[in-house]
Every structure is written in structure tokens, then in C-alpha cells.
């Protein structure tokens, strides 16, 4: 079992190419998603704060 898991992660000798490829994709797309979500949360919060400050106009 340990051996076959080891063999799986070795990717037939291509581990140094396959895993970085998946790692880069995860880092770039995950990072973009995280950043976009944080900016969105910030925008919602400051909009709500601003609307509270300005009072119930409109």
C-alpha cells in the first residue's frame, strides 16, 4: 500500500513536472479567487458602513 502510494506520487519519474504544474495552477487560480473574495467582502462592508453613516436616505 505504502509502496503503491509512493509509486503514484512518483508519477513514473515525472513527479517534478506533474506536481509543480498542478501546484502552480492551484496557487494562481486559488490566489485569484481568494483575493477577489476578500476585495468583494471589503466592498460590501464599507458600502454598508457608508450607508449607515449617511442615514436612511432614499
Amino acid at each position: 500500500m505504502v509502496n503503491s502510494i509512493g509509486a503514484y506520487f512518483a508519477m513514473g519519474g515525472y513527479a517534478v513536472y506533474v506536481w509543480p504544474a498542478y501546484g502552480i495552477a492551484t496557487a494562481v487560480l486559488g490566489g485569484l479567487a481568494l483575493y477577489a473574495w476578500q476585495r468583494y467582502r471589503d466592498s460590501v462592508r464599507s458600502l454598508e458602513r457608508l450607508q449607515r453613516q449617511l442615514g436612511p436616505r432614499r
Partner: protein
């Protein structure tokens, strides 16, 4: 029909409902695609396990092209009809497309090293995709480079439309020039020249990436609309200072100004 959805207030309503579904579906489908690509799909008889890079590289490349097409079409709509939502859509989509292009270039490099013996060659396909990446960066720099966002948007839209000539060059570069890059095996006339066990993870990942694009696009467009509203409210508050103190007496004299 389209203009019904292109009203910012309606967009905020519809996108609020669609967002969690898109995000959930994207995560689930990418998980299935990773399972199919990393575990179920067999190793290639020539490339061995290195072929698994394809399940990221090729969908990322498709997204890089499709996202650019989206930016260009939205830019065209923004230029011709001056619709604010189209300009926001183009501006919001560009960094997502740039991210997919970067993933495509990086994974391609990691795939080229063991298969071709080089990280990079200046051949038609690779160079035209690098140009696509720089077009994205140029567009992003241009739309953010003006104090007046409307002017930046217009300049960026023109760049995006001019850059469209690069798309057919990328697509057909493998047929027009001799290149290390292999020709298309899925999107070609006639049957795909790829086994079903490898085609499935490819298509599932492509669907997952498309939904990820839509999810990120909605999040970024909502952010942009929120930030514009914040700017408008701040300007309004500055034009009429101390609204909270003035309100009690002025409320009866004049109706409060409507906000955009």
C-alpha cells in the same frame, strides 16, 4: 433581451442568486475533473504519467482564448452602446484571463521540459500565447492607468479589439508554421484524435474552469459596482456636507436627493 439583464440593479439581484450556485458547481466539477485526470485516466503510451499535465494545460489554454474573446466582445459593446455594465464586465474578466494564460504558459513549460527537452522555444504557438499574456497585461495597465475610469475604459476597449487578430493566429499557428507544439486533437474537423478516457477529464476540467471563470467574473463585477457606488456616495456626501446634522430641518423642505 440582453439589455434587460444589463441593468446594474438587476445584475446585482440576479448575480447574488447565481453566485453561490456557480461557485459550488465549479468546485464540485473541478474536483471530479481532478479525480478523473489524476487517478482514473491511464498514462499515455508515449508520454507516460507526464500526460496528466494536459488536464490543466489544455483547459487553461481554452479559457485564456475564450476569456480574451469575452473581453473583446464586451469592449465592443462598451464602445458602441456605451453600456457601463459591458465595460465593467471587460475590466473584470481581464485579470482572470491573464491568470489562465499564465497557468497555460507555466504548465506548458513544465510539460515541454520532459517531452521536448526544453522549457521554452520561440515558435509560433508559444510566442503568440506569450503575446496574448502581454495583451492582457497591457489592457489591465491601460484601463487602470487613467484618472478618469471612462477614458481608461475606452482606451482599453480599443486595445482589446485590436488584439483580437492574435486569436486566430494562436489557434491556427500549429497548422500555418512548423512548430514543436502538436496540432489540435480535440477542436478539429472530424473526430477528436484522443481516447475517451483522456477526453473526459479534459472536458470536465474545461467545464469546471468555465464555471470558475463565471464565478470570479460575477464576484469581481459585484466588487466593481460596489466600489463605484461607494465613490458616488462619498462624492454626494461631500457635495452636501454633514447630511446627518442637516437632515432634520431640511427633510421637510426638500425631498432627499435620489442616489444612483
Amino acid at each position: 433581451m440582453l439589455s434587460r439583464f444589463a441593468n446594474p440593479a438587476r445584475f446585482m439581484r440576479i448575480s447574488a442568486t447565481a453566485l453561490p450556485w456557480c461557485a459550488g458547481a465549479s468546485a464540485a466539477i473541478i474536483a471530479v475533473g481532478l479525480y478523473l485526470g489524476l487517478i482514473v485516466a491511464p498514462p499515455d503510451y508515449q508520454q507516460g504519467e507526464a500526460v496528466r499535465i494536459m488536464y490543466i494545460h489544455v483547459p487553461a489554454a481554452w479559457m485564456a482564448l475564450n476569456a480574451y474573446l469575452f473581453v473583446a466582445v464586451a469592449s465592443g459593446v462598451a464602445l458602441v452602446w456605451r453600456h457601463p455594465l459591458a465595460e465593467i464586465a471587460a475590466r473584470s474578466a481581464a485579470p482572470i484571463g491573464a491568470a489562465f494564460t499564465f497557468v497555460c504558459l507555466a504548465t506548458g513549460s513544465l510539460w515541454g521540459r520532459p517531452m521536448w527537452g526544453t522549457w521554452w522555444v520561440w515558435d509560433a504557438r508559444l510566442t503568440s500565447v506569450l503575446v496574448l499574456f502581454f495583451l492582457y497585461l497591457g489592457y489591465i495597465a491601460l484601463v487602470n492607468g487613467f484618472d478618469d475610469p471612462a477614458r481608461g475604459g475606452r482606451a482599453g476597449s480599443i486595445l482589446a479589439l485590436v488584439g483580437v487578430v492574435n486569436l486566430p493566429i494562436i489557434k491556427f499557428s500549429v497548422d500555418w508554421w512548423n512548430t514543436l507544439h502538436q496540432p489540435a486533437s480535440v477542436l478539429r474537423f472530424g473526430k477528436p484524435t484522443i481516447a475517451l478516457s483522456m477526453l473526459m477529464p479534459l472536458l470536465v476540467m474545461a467545464l469546471g474552469f468555465t464555471l470558475l471563470f463565471v464565478t470570479l467574473l460575477l464576484v469581481r463585477m459585484r466588487t466593481e459596482l460596489n466600489e463605484r457606488k461607494i465613490r458616488a456616495l462619498r462624492l454626494n456626501a461631500m457635495a452636501a456636507p454633514m447630511p446627518t446634522r442637516r437632515r432634520p430641518e431640511s427633510a421637510e423642505l426638500a425631498p432627499p436627493a435620489a442616489l444612483p
